[in-house]
């Protein structure tokens, strides 16, 4: 009897471990095969989205921050969360910043347009999410929700450029300039967007504030290079 139980337990372990190994190999093989192609498509989609969230933009420059918090131009092809938009006259149209964070069941990736001269978010596009269909996925296309990000203030300290008020969901009867309304039935997804924006802006807005002259210099040099010697 004991031998039968032991055989039965071994057969169960063998089946579960064996099936698990076959399935793991299958998933890993597919991932390795498709990962470069997916990365390439995501990069192209991000590039398109940068133009979409920066109205009036005719050229974009990929930027990066070094360890000292100085912004500079990024070498061609490298991945970055920060893009500087320039219009036809070489003026800065805004900075497209990509950010991500955990939503209801998986990562939410979004891109927002930050206007450094006005200290405001002036556009947002959700790039990717797996929020609940019909509820959480309304963060992609709910017009009233997205319209709130066309003018959302990020108040910065005049001394050191730190964010004074993080972006939050409205909780009281009156909406503050740094608050937006959650979508009914998609509260967790809306809160996730607020958290992602708040964390990302806390990192980037002070950095951009300190590097305003550098950004102007980069824009001038890019405009000069465009017109040639």
């Amino acid at each position: 009897m004991r031998a039968t139980d032991s055989n039965s337990a071994f057969a169960m372990y063998r089946a579960l471990v064996g099936t698990g190994c076959v399935c793991a190999l299958l998933v890993v093989f597919t991932y390795l095969l498709t990962a470069p192609l997916i990365a390439q498509k995501r990069s192209a989609a991000l590039h398109e989205a940068v133009f979409a969230v920066l109205p009036g933009t005719t050229a974009t420059l990929a930027l990066h921050a070094n360890d000292q918090g100085e912004l500079g131009l990024l070498e061609h092809g490298a991945a970055t969360p920060l893009y500087l938009g320039l219009d036809a006259g070489g003026r800065i149209t805004g900075l497209a910043i990509s950010a991500q964070g955990m939503g209801y069941q998986d990562l939410i990736r979004l891109l927002y347009d930050y206007a450094p001269d006005r200290g405001r978010v002036i556009g947002l596009k959700v790039l990717d999410s797996r929020e609940t269909p019909g509820l959480g996925d309304r963060i992609h296309h709910d017009r009233a929700f997205l319209a709130a990000f066309e003018d959302l203030q990020i108040p910065l300290s005049a001394d050191d450029g730190r964010v004074q008020q993080p972006i939050t969901i409205r909780s009281g009867p009156h909406r503050q300039p740094w608050q937006f309304d959650a979508i009914t039935g998609a509260t967790i997804s809306s809160q996730a967007v607020a958290r992602i924006l708040s964390q990302s802006s806390a990192l980037w807005a002070p950095l951009i504030w300190r590097n305003q002259e550098t950004l102007q210099g980069i824009a001038s040099r890019a405009e000069g290079a465009r017109h040639g010697p």
């Binding site: 579960l16 064996g18 099936t19 399935c23 597919t30 498709t34 192609l37 995501r42």
Partner: protein, 204 residues
Amino acid sequence: MAPSASDDFIKGLWRDNPVFVQVLGMCPVLAVSNSALNALTMGLATSFVLCLSSLLVASLRAFIPAEVRIACYVLIIASFVTVVDYLIQAISLELHAALGAFISLIVVNCLILARAEAFASRNTPLRALLDALGMGLGFTFALLCLGAVREILGMGSLFGIALFGEAFQPWVVMILPGGGFFTLAAWLLLITGLKRRRARPQGA
């Protein structure tokens, strides 16, 4: 008389169609059939998972004890869903975004687990594959029936190609969730009517 290999394949297409007869997997049927392209992609993705998981379940049936069979089936199905998820992303990110979380939800499509438990685990890999292929094509056909009607009436197009002139006023309700229920009800009414008519004795 034992059913032939062709019976295994054909039954899913019409007689035991997973959507119109068995009424299985209604969540993606109603949610993703708002356009013909979405319906076709979801149908093919489900068929892919159904065929490969049935093949693997049938191949491993002697190796999997009854006590852990459901856990193993779910593991196999989830792996193929992950594979199809990566493949769709590699083909088109727009399509992947349009189908949203429904690709992941193929894991819980009762059609796939039902075929694994009721057929693949008791038959040879070839018969399991034929059964899955028939059921998958039947599922795709049903989704396409819904998707085509909803897109034509809701957007005035089919596979994105405009069918009517500028004057056409789209029935927006057809691409909304309510339109899915209306269209499914209309198809079920038509198919049940046809079946009853065929079953009626000649000359009666």
